[in-house]
Every structure is written in structure tokens, then in C-alpha cells.
């Protein structure tokens, strides 16, 4: 709202507009101030206290965490050096970056070309494909994990291709499951692009590929980034497939952390500090990606109407 007023404002009326825009904020206000402050503080605390706790617990002693301390009685950063071997984060993060990164790049590339065809051309079955893209986004992973596992084992038995336990199996799985949403994001993005440039290029004799590479790609990089990030997150966040289809050497960070957490049950005090440090390290790339691309991501979320 405020941006439209900013763009409409002509240079001469700046002084006059200022109180006006203030009044506009008053008009937009939906809650009385005390209630507004209460909502903001309540929800802010709801989010920030656990987030702050992750950090505080990661530098606390395990006994301190077990006793329910919020502020650490003793501060140590050694958890951050231990987790690379104890949780297996060195291997885990390498695998996560490799698999999720490759998923992001390939799925972005495939989804932009797929969406290009779906948006700019007519053919039989087009609407069916669009509907299928939406439906496939909602197919639950728990439904798929067993048949995919069996399919991959059969590939080893009958074709001699070893997929289970390698990063390749995860990569192909994540790529496929990322495709419906990534493509849908690109479809909504490409629809918003003006067609005039493409038409001009075609008149100049550009081929389909020429249009895709010279016109669509340069114009749609924000959409491509968004669809790539969603694919990355799918791979980064997955526990289900990774817990079934990996060996210790091909484990992703998510599974490494889950297994470490589960192995702490019983007996001595769990390594809470290391768990929290590892959780923070696993969350950091995601949160940083989100903060950098926030504007595009939020747009992609609501435009896709999904997730």
C-alpha cells in the first residue's frame, strides 16, 4: 500500500503528502494499539524464546540443559568442534550440500523448460499435466518410500545398478519429488511475463530454444531461484527417504542428527549441547537462504498457493 503512494507521489507534493501518508497508516490499522502490541509481543516471544534457546543450550553444559537452565551457568563452545565427528556432521553436511544442491540446479533447469512448454504452447493433455502437477505435490512420501525402495532394489537385482545406499538414489528421488512444485512455481512465474519480447524474437527468426535461452531464462531468474531453493529445501529437510536409502557414508545431515538424537536415549545424560549445536548448524543454511531471498520466496509461496 505504502509503495503505491510512494510511486504516485509527484515531487511537488512531498511536503503535503507526509501527514497524509501518516493518516493512511491510521486508516490501515486494524487493531487498537494495546492489542496490537500484545499480539506482536506474544507471537514474537513464542518464536524467539525457542530460537534463542537453541543457541544458549548449544553453548551450555549437558547437565545445565538437563536441569532446565535457560541461561547457561557455564559457557563453552567446544560442542561446535565435537559435532563434526560425533554426530557425523562433516559427512552429513557434505552429502546434504551435494545432494540438495544438485537437486536444486537440475530441478530448476528441468522445471523452467517444462513450464515454458506448458505455458506457451497448446497441446492435447496440457490441462491434465497441470492438474497432475498439483496432485503429485500432495502424494505423501510415506506412501512412496516403500515402492521406491523396492524399485531401486529391483534395479540392483535385475539391472545390476546399485542405487540404494548411494547419493545417486537420493538425488534422483528428491529431483523427482521436487519437480511438481518447482514446475508449478515456474508456470505461475512464466504466466506473468510479457509475451512481446518473445514475439519480437520470433519475428527476428529465433527458434524455440533461442526464445527459451535468450528471452525466458534472463527474464525469469527470480522464479528459477525460488524453484531451485524449494528443491534444495526438499532435499535438505528430508528424513524419510534418507533414513531408508542411505548408509553411514552417504547419510545426509538430517539423518545424522536424527540418529544421533535417537541414540542418546537411556543411561547417561544425553549430549544435549551437541544436539543443539548440530541443530543450529543444520538450520543455518536454510535460514540464511530464506533471509537473502525472502521477498521472492514469500511471493513464490503465495503464488504457488502451496506448501
Amino acid at each position: 500500500m505504502s509503495t503505491t503512494t510512494a510511486t504516485r507521489r509527484s515531487p511537488g507534493t512531498v511536503a503535503v503528502e507526509r501527514p497524509g501518508s501518516h493518516r493512511q497508516h491510521e486508516v490501515l490499522r486494524l487493531l487498537p494499539t494495546p492489542l496490537l502490541i500484545f499480539v506482536l509481543v506474544f507471537l514474537g516471544a513464542l518464536v524467539l524464546i525457542p530460537v534463542l534457546y537453541i543457541f544458549l543450550a548449544s553453548v551450555n553444559s549437558d547437565i545445565g540443559v538437563a536441569n532446565g537452565e535457560f541461561w547457561p551457568s557455564s559457557v563453552t563452545f567446544e560442542n561446535y568442534s565435537k559435532i563434526w565427528t560425533s554426530v557425523g556432521l562433516a559427512t552429513g553436511l557434505t552429502n546434504s550440500v551435494l545432494v540438495a544442491g544438485a537437486t536444486a540446479v537440475v530441478s530448476a533447469a528441468l522445471s523452467v523448460s517444462t513450464a515454458f512448454v506448458l505455458v506457451r504452447y497448446t497441446f492435447r493433455g496440457r490441462l491434465t499435466i497441470l492438474r497432475g502437477l498439483l496432485a503429485l505435490q500432495s502424494v505423501p512420501g510415506t506412501l512412496m518410500v516403500l515402492p521406491v525402495f523396492v524399485l531401486f532394489s529391483s534395479a540392483a537385482t535385475y539391472l545390476g545398478i546399485q542405487v540404494i545406499g548411494t547419493q545417486w538414489g537420493l538425488f534422483v528421488t528428491y529431483l523427482t519429488f521436487a519437480m511438481p512444485f518447482s514446475t508449478w512455481v515456474m508456470v505461475t512465474y512464466l504466466r506473468g511475463l510479457p509475451k512481446e519480447l518473445e514475439e519480437a524474437a520470433r519475428i527476428d527468426g529465433a527458434s524455440n530454444l533461442g526464445v527459451l535461452f535468450r528471452i525466458i531464462l534472463p527474464l525469469s531468474w527470480p522464479g528459477i531461484v525460488v524453484s531451485g531453493i524449494f528443491a534444495f529445501l526438499l532435499g535438505w529437510n528430508d528424513v524419510l527417504f534418507a533414513s531408508v536409502m542411505t548408509r553411514p557414508e552417504s547419510q545426509t545431515a538430517a539423518v545424522a542428527l536424527q540418529i544421533f538424537g535417537a541414540s542418546q536415549e537411556g543411561g547417561a545424560i544425553p549430549y544435549y549441547g551437541q544436539m543443539m549445536a548440530a541443530a543450529l548448524v543444520c538450520a543455518a543454511p536454510v535460514v540464511i537462504l530464506y533471509l537473502i531471498f525472502q521477498r521472492y520466496l514469500v511471493g513464490g509461496l503465495t503464488a504457488g498457493g502451496v506448501k
Binding site: H25, L31, V117, R120, V139, L146, L151, E199, L291
Partner: protein
């Protein structure tokens, strides 16, 4: 459904009424119109449909084929001994389905899944709406507040679950904090209260999603509407109720559907929060299906369970597919 399905969805509905004026707008811009005609001829002769092949092949091999495979497996007596040669394992017809419905915790799991999803939704809706309404008008630091509100949503589920698992340990930070105000809840991660733990953590993780969609709904409210109700001197509560909330109906209906699908399909949160075997009060559908496969090795039974849960999910999914626009009037070649 389609009538109250928001500004976003509406253009799909008014195809007949909306297309004609749009076309006349197109015709107003001469070159665009000509291009349209030309392109139509061209696109039918020279369509790069081969570009659909890589993505299509992937989705067919890794999603559609396994889906059919799963259905086939649900009529087999498949366990760890017969898995290696699963094609030749004995056919037992509907026995897996009968066992799933009568002699397994499946119905209990369905009940848990649906009730937990609904409960979480009932709380996240007002939280998300309140957050959207509070950040609607500009104030200093609003951008920061918006970023903070979205943090639970961007944190990976396995991180959220690991953190809450630590915080909810007996004698942990949550128990300590509650004890200072004299509340003693008991065990969070074991026993009958686990159900409520799952609901609470799910609420914490998913209210920002409602917030996002509510915010997009609020932004569609015309400024004139705000001014008119300000001139009328409407009380804030009445303004919210009669002026603003009607705009939110569509986006929130969508958010409700997608949110329910996400809650019902959520595997990571209960899996990491409670571990397997999970306490019986959080043995939701995804966990039950997973445990039946990979802990009990009753693959055929698990496939039957998965099939039954697919039928359950198909209900909200069908409504959702009806509500989302597949196409818009701006791609005239899309029609016909």
C-alpha cells in the same frame, strides 16, 4: 467451494464472462493481437514438446510406476523373506486390507491423524490471522517482525523436532518454566500426553503458513474499503468482522486444505520428536505405515495401509484441485 475461493482462484471461474473483455483489451494493442494469431499458427506446427520428456520420464518412473507398484504390493504377502523376489511372492487378494482394517491400529491411526490435524488447524488459524492483522499497517521494524514470524516455518522439521525434544525432556526447560508458576504437567514425550505434545509442536511450526496466506488475503483488500470504514467510524472489531474477514475467506479456505494435507502427511515431526516405535498415542498414519514396513517388515500390509491413507487424503486433495485455477485467461492458447 469455487465461489468463495478468493481473488486468486476466481479468475479461473469466470472464464466465460472474463474472456471476452480480456480479448478486446488484447485487440486494442494491435501488435499483441497480430502476434497472437501468428503465434497460434506457429505453435501448432513447431512445438518443442520434447522438452517435457526429461521431467515427464522422471515423474513416471519415480512416482507413477512406484504408485502402481505400491497398489500391486498391497495384494501380495510380502515380508522380509519374499521381498527379494517380490514379483513371485504369493498373491493373497484383499487379506492385507482386511487385516489393516480389523486387526491393525490403522483405524486408530486415522482417528489420531485427523483429530491432531484438525486440532492444530483450529489453533493455527486464529494465530495466523492475528499475526497478519497485526502486521498489516506499517510501523517501524515491521519487516523484521515479518521475518521473525516466518522463522518456525523455514526451520527444517527435523530441527524443530530435535529442539522441542530437548526442551520437553523431563526436568527440562519447559518443565522448569512451568514449575515456577506452579504447573506440573508430567511426561511430554511418553504416555498419553504425547498426543497433545504433537499438537503443540505442530502448532508452533505451522502457524506462520496461515499467517502468510492470511497476509496475502489482507493485501487484496482495496484501500477504498479501509477509507470507507474509517469514514463510517466503524469500531475495530466490527471492521474486522464485516469488512476485512470476508476477504480472507478464500485464502484461508485454501490454507485450511493445504495445512490439513501437510499435517496428515507429516512424518518427520512425530518421527524425530518421539522416535520409533512411537508411543501409541502418536502413532499417526505416516508413522504406522513406516513402522509396518521398516520395523515389522510387513511390506504388503504396509502397502495396503498406504493405499487406504491415499484414499483418505484424496478427499481434501480433490477439493483443493477443484479450487486452484489451472489456467488463466492470459494464456488464450491454453483454451482449445
Amino acid at each position: 467451494m469455487s465461489t468463495d475461493a478468493s481473488h486468486e482462484v476466481r479468475p479461473a471461474v469466470d472464464t466465460a464472462a472474463g474472456r471476452a473483455p480480456r480479448h478486446s483489451v488484447d485487440a486494442g494493442q494491435e501488435p499483441g493481437h497480430k502476434g497472437g494469431l501468428r503465434r497460434k499458427g506457429l505453435s501448432e506446427r513447431n512445438r518443442p514438446l520434447w522438452m517435457l520428456i526429461p521431467g515427464g520420464a522422471l515423474m513416471i518412473i519415480i512416482i507413477v510406476v512406484p504408485l502402481l507398484l505400491g497398489i500391486y504390493m498391497s495384494v501380495l504377502n510380502l515380508d522380509q523373506y519374499t521381498l527379494r523376489k517380490w514379483i513371485s511372492s504369493p498373491f493373497i487378494g484383499v487379506e492385507n486390507f482386511v487385516e489393516a482394517m480389523t486387526a491393525s491400529p490403522l483405524l486408530h491411526a486415522v482417528w489420531l491423524s485427523v483429530s491432531y490435524s484438525l486440532l492444530a488447524m483450529v489453533v493455527t488459524l486464529p494465530l495466523g490471522i492475528a499475526a497478519a492483522v497485526a502486521t498489516q499497517n506499517a510501523f517501524k521494524g515491521r519487516a523484521v517482525v515479518r521475518s521473525i514470524f516466518l522463522i518456525p516455518y523455514v526451520l527444517p522439521s527435523f530441527v524443530v523436532a530435535t529442539v522441542w525434544r530437548t526442551m520437553l525432556q523431563p526436568g527440562g526447560i519447559v518443565d522448569e518454566a512451568l514449575a515456577t508458576v506452579g504447573i506440573h504437567v508430567g511426561l511430554w514425550l511418553n504416555g498419553p500426553q504425547t498426543f497433545w505434545t504433537l499438537v503443540l509442536v505442530q502448532i508452533w511450526a505451522s502457524w506462520p503458513f496461515i499467517y502468510l496466506l492470511a497476509l496475502s488475503g489482507l493485501q487484496s483488500v482495496d484501500h477504498e474499503v479501509h477509507e470507507a470504514s474509517a469514514l463510517d467510524g466503524a469500531l475495530w472489531w466490527n471492521k474486522l468482522r464485516y469488512v476485512v474477514f470476508p476477504y480472507l475467506k478464500g485464502p484461508l479456505a485454501l490454507a485450511f486444505l493445504i495445512g490439513m494435507l501437510h499435517h496428515i502427511n507429516n512424518f518427520t515431526l512425530p518421527f524425530v520428536l518421539f522416535g520409533v516405535p512411537a508411543p501409541t498415542d502418536v502413532e499417526v498414519l505416516p508413522i504406522l505405515t513406516y513402522v509396518t514396513s521398516f520395523q515389522s517388515f510387513r511390506f504388503g500390509l504396509s502397502a495396503a495401509m498406504a493405499f487406504i491413507s491415499l484414499v483418505l487424503i484424496a478427499i481434501p486433495l480433490f477439493v483443493y484441485l477443484r479450487a486452484v485455477k489451472l489456467d488463466d485467461a492470459e494464456t488464450p492458447r491454453g483454451k482449445k
